[in-house]
Symmetry: C2
Subunit: 244 residues, 2 copies
DNA sequence: GAAAGTCGGACGTAGGACGTCCTATGCTGT
DNA sequence: ACAGCATAGGACGTCCTACGTCCGACTTTC
């Protein structure tokens, strides 16, 4: 199936058409994540383009999380992920911090809407095991805070498990991405959240939230989450107006 | 500033490092969207890589919406956009429709959480002008529905303007992306929503929502939005189990 | 002074060559 | 017979050269 592309097209459109042809090929053949794709040579012949052009398109698909390339072995359909969104948002976030930090605030707003808006539904589907895991994380946080250590991973896990009951991959990925992007931005502003007092405060707010979740008090959980994000917004504001 | 990259690294990591070097270069030089970037030759010299390797990295950044390339002219820092997310989600959505359509449901769930969760806040900041625009769109919808025409664009605009008062670019982009992805998926299942009855129903539900927004009844607006999405979920279910 | 033609720079595409890496095959030693 | 290693082959990674295409700016001409 040699495709004869329209002769004259904008370069960007041509690259887009090529990536689209490749994804169509995946869909038409019914390839599933993990399945092997044709080799570069086969794709070159099939799509009627040179190796450089093809590789540029493939690299784009790799960046978009569509295909996975294993050096010396071959090319495969990738598992679900949102690498693309993460990379894109991270860059935008870092960029905006250079002047205003506006986008970081928007990110927090969206996270707040998602988490505060969905925590009630998540609580309806939560299991004993989830609660046990959450409690273990909180205990861990409190211990680390007392020792003066930070607990980035524990924080991330807490939020991840909180929404796991919804069983929504897209949501989990989005929240994970937002968390990672936020952490990257946060690190680049050299946040002073490693003070023991701040650590204890963060641990405590997670403890409160856990108790609300455990007791099934949805409105309380929602408002505690909102508070949590207000605190984060405060840190960002401090950074933007340190002289304030 | 010739960078000497560590000699041995995973190929994927190397490409990532290269894209990262380029974004760092943008950030370090304080380039703003629209600003010109170094040429390929300059970047090759500066980053110490060959043209193919460099171009692959650049194409990735183009796909991620970081840079914009103008054939025969040069390379520029791109304006904000979420092309990457859109492309990635569209592919995933189409892919999943081949078996279960699970991801389409997840997409609707996230949209519902965002829109139903934030409509209240948006209503607090809404202006007379926004209300006027919304009403104009609803009137348009009703007219088109009566004539048996579909109103994709009007639908999209309604939701866009509804959340414009929040003045959150990220949120607007996310909702726009979700809408586009959903439309693409929807088209590929050959939805039968062009029947006059269905059109009238959709127009009516937007009318109800508009009235709720106008009267400032936040809980009602939120629940109407939730209903709207329940209807969409129903269409998806029909598609997945047509024999049912 | 304005319009048309020309020139140069920059990106787009193709193909070849060689390096690197991974898997699989077959051999060897126990 | 089985485990471990050595080797061969395939496939991706990187670089180079060459030429095509496009755009903006400069020059020429009327």
């Amino acid at each position: 199936m040699i495709v004869s592309r329209p002769p004259r097209l904008d370069a960007h459109a041509r690259l887009r058409a090529l990536t689209s042809d490749i994804t169509d090929l995946i869909l038409d053949r019914g390839l599933l994540p993990g399945d092997a794709m044709p080799t570069e040579q086969e794709l070159m012949a099939e799509l009627g383009v040179g190796r450089n052009t093809l590789r540029e398109a493939i690299k784009v698909l790799q960046a978009l999380g569509v295909v996975e390339i294993r050096h010396g072995f071959g090319m495969f359909v990738a598992e679900e992920n949102l690498v693309a969104l993460s990379d894109s948002l991270t860059f935008r976030g870092q960029m905006s911090l250079r002047h205003k930090g506006h986008e970081a605030n928007e990110l927090v707003d969206v996270r707040q809407a998602l988490e505060a808006g969905l925590v009630g539904t998540a609580m309806s589907a939560i299991t004993e095991q989830h609660l046990a895991e959450l409690e273990a994380i909180v205990v861990d946080m409190e211990r680390l805070a007392a020792d003066g250590h930070s607990f980035i991973d524990a924080d991330r896990n807490f939020h991840r498990i909180l929404f796991e009951p919804l069983n929504n991959q897209l949501l989990s990925n989005l929240l994970g991405v937002f968390w990672d992007v936020y952490r990257t931005i946060h690190q680049s502003i050299d946040a002073k959240d490693s003070t023991r007092a701040h650590l204890a405060e963060t641990a405590h707010s997670h403890r409160e939230l856990f108790e609300a979740v455990k007791s099934g008090d949805k409105p309380l959980a929602s408002s505690l989450l909102a508070c949590h994000f207000d605190g984060i917004r405060g840190q960002l504001a401090e950074f933007n107006a340190p002289a304030g």
